[in-house]
């Protein structure tokens, strides 16, 4: 009970630390969408009659490039609180800059606290609510189908917390990104944190570190690198096999990184492109009545991709976790 309160307090203070400067800084820095349009308008010097400071120009006044820029800035991370000041008093981006990625990661951690504390408690109290029962089912599925089926019961037990966290953290981030939203500040501009390599690379780095450390602990440092090379390989093939196996050690986590981030990013880009077609057609037909009709197939396509994405979010979390389990298991038991 104390741990629960402590964790929730820490989470709330983290969130407040981000949201408050972000809301204050919002007026100065502007948010991505309006900011880009404004700069583009100024660069062209053709829209001299811009009265409102943060008023976006209409679709018909914007160039095609501006339309797609606005569409795609919502799929790319941007800083919300710079937090670093140089000698002249100007804020600049640096090591501690907070991008719109971090608040959503912390939101996911908080949601995981809220969702999974009742699951832990239900084992003690022997009373289970409906929602908790569903989450228990998910946990059991991860345990039996993913961890135990590869690693076995004795060995897999030690890894359960890590893979529970890995799977549900990715699932929560992916699914939160699916909620349609508009806005420029924290609670309204929902962002898929896993859509950037900066989030997926650390997750894959955990896998790489565990592969190396546990593999070396189990087989010895020399034995681990010896075990990378398959038994019974003819001597004249070794110059080819050795570099390939060593590169494979690094390529595995890099592939994990890129697979997850590219899947999430590309899904959102395709939806953005389908929605962007509406604005493009509006511009092509100069806002005529027919252009309203073209919105129907465009939105239909976006919804179709959205439904596929809903499947892909869960699938990619499954694949990321399952491949991590396999890689760690393989490096510990190198029977070739």
């Amino acid at each position: 009970m104390l741990a629960k309160r402590l964790l929730i307090t820490i989470w709330l203070s983290l969130l407040a630390a981000v949201v408050v400067p972000a809301q204050e800084g919002n007026g100065e820095h502007g948010a991505s969408g309006a900011g880009t349009t404004h700069e583009a308008g100024e660069g062209g010097e053709s829209h001299g009659d811009e009265s409102g400071e943060h008023q976006s120009p209409g679709t018909l006044e914007m160039s095609n490039a501006d339309i797609f820029k606005i569409q795609f800035t919502h799929s790319v991370p941007y800083p919300i609180a710079l937090l670093e000041v140089d000698e002249d008093g100007h804020e600049h981006a640096g090591l501690f800059t907070i991008y719109n990625v971090q608040p959503w990661q912390w939101t996911c951690l908080g949601l995981m606290l809220i969702v999974f504390f009742p699951v832990v408690g239900s084992f003690r109290k022997q009373r289970v609510g409906k929602f908790t029962r569903i989450m228990r089912g998910f946990c059991l599925w991860v345990r039996d189908e993913m961890v135990y089926s590869v690693m076995g019961k004795e060995e897999g037990r030690a890894f359960l917390p890590l893979f529970f966290f890995m799977f549900f953290f990715i699932v929560f981030q992916n699914v939160i990104g699916l909620i349609p939203s508009t806005g420029h500040s924290y609670p309204f501009a929902i962002y898929t944190a896993t859509g950037t390599p900066f989030v997926t690379a650390p997750l894959a780095a955990i896998t790489l570190l565990l592969m190396l450390t546990l593999g070396m602990k189990k087989n010895g440092v020399v034995g681990f690198f010896k075990g990378l090379i398959p038994h019974g390989v003819p001597a004249y093939l070794l110059p080819i096999i050795v570099p390939i196996e060593f590169a494979g050690l690094i390529i595995k986590p890099v592939a994990l990184t890129i697979r997850l981030f590219a899947n999430m990013l590309s899904g959102h880009l395709v939806i953005a492109a389908a929605i962007g077609l509406v604005f493009l057609f509006t511009k092509m037909m100069a806002g005529s009545a027919l252009s309203y009709l073209t919105a129907l197939p465009c939105v239909g396509m976006a919804i179709f991709i959205y439904i596929i994405e809903a499947f892909v979010t869960l699938l990619q979390a499954y694949i990321f976790t399952f491949l991590s389990i396999n890689f760690i298991h393989q490096s510990m038991h190198q029977e070739h």
């Binding site: 189908e145 697979r259 590219a262 899947n263 880009l269 511009k283 092509m284 037909m285 499954y318 694949i319």
Partner: protein
């Protein structure tokens, strides 16, 4: 509408990085062809396997998804490279 296309054509003629766009499109398209062939073979084999041994359907489905993910990963490398080219 004609004016729109003429506009686009003029932009294309004056743009210096048209080759990058073509390259990015080719990267994404050829990767889709390769991944399509690969995933098609995986799906076909998995379907055949399930038809021959319906009791092994769960194991086959799981591993087919993993194999498809490997193929898809390579295709997405190409898509990322295409994005990097296109936004250069």
């Amino acid at each position: 509408m004609l004016a729109f296309f003429q506009d686009a054509a003029n932009q294309l003629a004056t743009a210096s990085n048209t080759g990058l766009g073509i390259g990015a499109g080719l990267a994404a398209g050829l990767a889709a062809v390769g991944a399509g062939l690969g995933i098609g073979r995986i799906g076909g084999a998995a379907g055949e396997g399930i038809a021959r041994q319906p009791e092994a359907a769960d194991a086959i489905k799981g591993s087919a998804l993993i194999f498809a993910a490997f193929v898809e990963g390579v295709a997405l490398f190409a898509a990322v490279i295409g994005l990097m080219l296109a936004t250069k």
